[in-house]
Structure formats: C-alpha cells, structure tokens
Amino acid sequence: MGGVTVTPELLLFGGVAGAAALCAVGVVAFNNAIRSALCLVVNFFLLAFLYFTLNAEMMGITQVVVYTGAIMVLFLFVIMLLNLGGLKLVTEKFDYKRYAGILLGCGLFVVLGSQILPSLATIQARQLSPDLAKFGGPEAIGRTLFTSYVYPFEAVSVLLLVGIVGSILLAKRRL
C-alpha cells in the first residue's frame, strides 16, 4: 500500500468508513438491544453517505428512506414492545462457544482480506463524464427498472406482497 497518496477525499473516506466500522462492532458488542439498533442506524446513515460518494445518490437516499426511516423504526418498535411486556433483556453469557465464534470471524476476515484486498489496492475510480454521472439519478434508475429489469421487479413486488400477507397472518391473533 506504499503507493497510495493521501488526498482529502481519502481522509474523509477514512473517517466515515472508520465510524461505520465502529458502529458495526457496536451492533454486536452492545448488550442493550436499543443501543445496538442505534449503532445500526448510524451505520446505515454513514453507508448512505458512502453511496453518495459512489455517484449513486438515488441509492443513498433510498437507503435512508428504507433502512433508517422504516426498517430500523420497526426494529425499535418491536424492541420496545417486548420491553413493555416485561421481558428482561436476554442475558448474554460468554462461554467458549462465543470466543470460538469471534475467533472464527477474525479468521474469516484475515483470510478473505489477505486473498482479495492486495489485488484491488491499486485500482482507482475513473472520472465519470457528465452524461454517465446522471446514471445514479432517479430518471436512469426508473427507466432501467421498468425496461431491462421489469421481470425481477415484478417478482420482487410479488415477494413484498407475500411478505405483507405473511406478517399479518403471523401477527394477528385471530383473523
């Protein structure tokens, strides 16, 4: 990695990515589920920022709307509902299995990183021409979604419908 020059962008990326990684660790490490959820919210927010830096502004804003705006609120809602029902926090006990799990994770990261990352260290992003830069916007996404990807799109809509029906069926005591 000696050939990397430090630019302001690299420093900015380092800060954001470091904070995101820290939040990811926080999700796993916090014993309190609400704090884990908050870490995840911050992580998703920072990821949205990274999407913006990757010229995918539509994806970035969708990330905020879908993940931080809907999914994480649902998580918080369920956690609080369980708290209200008098549920004590699930106690985490750290026996040998847990340490084995952590070791496994570290091993996975080391193996993957050592095999993949060195070959990618030199690849830089190419400057986008203005007409390519607009391919992160809503217009291009809409056009592609409803032309080349219309069948997967419909399949996903069916999946979402099944999800809605399934969750109602599960959550409702009597229909």
Binding site: N32, I34, R35, L38, V41, E57, M58, I61, T62, V64, V65, T68, G69, A70, V73, L74, L76, F77, M80, L81, N83, L84, G137, P138, E139
Partner: protein, 471 residues
Amino acid sequence: MAGATLRKAIQVNSNLQMADFIQHLHPALQALIRVVLFVMPSLMLVPGIIWWERRLLSWMQDRIGPNRVGNITFSRTSRFVPSFLQGKKFRLFGLLQPIADGMKLFFKEDITPSAVDKVIYFVAPALALFPAFALGGTIPWGPYGFLTPVADVNIGVLYIMAISSLGVYGIVLAGYASDNKFSLMGGLRSSAQLISYELAMGMSVACIVMATGSLKPSDMVTAQRGALWGLDFAPFTWIENWNILTPYGLVAAIVFGVCMIAETNRPPFDLPEAENELVAGYHTEYSSMKFAVFFMGEYAAMFVYGVILCTLFIGSWHLLPIRFAFMAKQYPAFGDVWNMLDTLNGSSILAPVFVVLKAVAVVTTYIWVRATLPRLRYDQLMSLGWKSLLPLAVANLVVVAIWIVASRVASPIMGLAAVAVSGAILYALYKAINKINVHERPNFASREVLMVDEPPQTREVELVEPAAAAS
C-alpha cells in the same frame, strides 16, 4: 414610467453583483450562505408562531391569552425618563411572551432522573430538533437560483421524505430512555403513528411527482406556472396550474395536510403526548432546556411542513394564481400594468415573504383544527391512517396515472374527462366494498348524547323486598 422604475427597484436580477460574487465562492461556502440567509430566519419565526398560536387559540376559546409581556409604560414623573417619553405607552400585544417563556425554561433546574439511560436521554432532544432544521434543505424560497434552495438536487422530494421519516427517532428514544411507563407508551404510539402516516404522505407526494415528472422541488414550482389543467383557451390560460386547483392535487393536498398534522404530533393526533392518558407522553421526564428543545422542534417542524405544503401544492412564492406574464403577452394594451403586477406577484424581493405568509396560513389552519376537533382515540387514529387516507392516496395515484396517459394520448380535456370517469368508478367501488363489510362489523355502538327536547325517560326501579334479599 414610475411603474417601470419601481419595478426595476424591487425586481431581483440574477445578473446582480451579489449573484456573481456568490457563484464564484467555494460550493460549501455557497451552501453556508444559503443556509444563513433562508433556513435560519425561518427558525427565527418559531417564537412568533408560538405567540400566534396562543393568541389565536385564546381568541377562539373566548379567553384573552398572553397580551402583556413587552408592554412598556414610561413613568410620568420620574426624572430618569426623557421628557418626550414621559407617560408614553408602547404595546407589543404580548409578542415577547415566548421569549419570556424561553428565559424561564432556561433558568429552571435541569433535572435528570437517576434511572434514565444517560446517553440516549441526552441525545434524544437533539434528534428531535434535527429534522426540523434539515427539512428545508431542498425547498426553493424565491425565483433566484443563486441563493435558494440550499441544494437543488434531483432527489429533493425524496430528501424531504427521508428527513421527515427521521423525526420519529427523537420521540421514540426519549420515550425509551426516560425509563417511565408513560414515556414508553408515548414513544410506542408515536412510532406506530409515524410509520402509518408516512405511507399516505409518500403516496400523496408521489401523485405530484408523477404529475410533474420530476423529483426536484424547483421543477414542481415551475410546473405550477403553466395554464390551468393544461388547457389552452381563454379563462384557463389566465390561471396558474397550482396543484391544489387540480382535482387530484386537491385530494393529495388534503391527504398531505392530514398526514402533516399527524407527523408533527399536533392535535387532534397528539396521542404520543396525550396529557389525560400519559401525563405528558415522551417528554414527561424532561425539564428545563431539554423540554424547550422538544417544544421548539415541534413548532419549527410545523412551520417547515407548512412551507413544504406551500411549495408542493399552493404555488410556492406566487401570491395569486394568475399568469400576469402571459397576459402581458396576450393583451399588450395594458402591458405595463401586467408586467408590474407580475413583478409584484412573484418575481420581486417579496417572494420569500409570500412563502412565509402562505406557511403561516397553513399553521393557522393547524391551530384552527386544534381548537375545533377533539383528540382521536388510538384505534380511530390507526383506522383513519390505514383505512381512509392510504386507500384514498392510492386511488388518487391511479387517477393521476390515468390523467397523464389520457392527456398525453388524446388531449387535456380528455384527461379531465378520464379523471372524472375514473374517480366516479373508484367511488362506486368504494361504496360497493363498504356495503359488503357493513353487516359483519362488530363495532361498539356509538353512544348518542341527546341534549334537546327529549322527555326524561322514566326508569323502572326494581324493588327488592328487604326480607327476600335477606333470606
């Protein structure tokens, strides 16, 4: 001649030196200038809105309300008062009341209960204030592109939706961190309410997005400058195509308005802080400045939502929906008059003032609704959101789609006809569905309270013999 000079004086020309100066700055500095010029002043209006609400509410409820703070009467005899001020009275109609309240809250003891989750307890008020500050980022305030909006991005409306969906965190976390049953209930109610109303709100905004064909707020404003309903003959070409004047836009505006009240937790949707059920809801445990922050966040959000409604539906910075510029071209006999009116109507430095005026009108409606309607029950709130507003917004989306296709394929008149026909069909469908459901609904019978001219019903008193009861 005088008209022309006046027009020149108040017209904002984008070739001004200032525009040039600003456009040559670093983008971050530009954004900072825009924030300072437009977003901050809008937050300065918050105390004014609080005063306006209290005065208007007291007027509606036949009270006097705060009318004293700020009044000064100089002594008639004191030597320390200059002679021209002696005995003079200055009345501010209680305008300084919110500032006095703020001072009071600031100097109150800041109590932190011992069982709270400290970090989250301190972060929650800040999170509650953040969306109100950030929401205005993509809203244009006037016809000068170099000053406003802060960022004219092609995902502006989605940005508004994203930020407004973050508003729930402050409330939920405050409710959780307080370690108080009532606070937790308030937080839970709020998260359920906000998720439910977000959907209908998104759908109603989607209608406008479809009709405009863009996600940029400034494009939406431009689209509202066209002729009414896209028609090209006399009375319609004089009027601007404000979204609220179109049939689908009116429905969308109503849905948006209701959802807006629910999103800001204002009465009659203020279940998260319903004082007769939950003490004070999510901010029960907050005192002093932290409570003030919640309070301020609510009022700032109210105002900013008013500005959003104004931008999306009520023609943004034009005072009247009349196309004076078009009329100047069409009827050149009074060209100067039309041009003058056009300048006054929108393209002058008064433009942001008009936006503020419209937003205050929306806020006034909020207050009016608060004074008029009783608080909903929780199940009524949920069924209003899911069973009325969401289907209405989705049906409206269908109507907009039909209108777009019909007016592109045939003509604007055919488009309007299609809107009428599809609206009628959807209404008939709604009626038919309601008829199916009606007989198998085990609802609680609503209790009627008759107050007029009903003869008192004699109740049969069941007499029990004391002896029989004893045995």
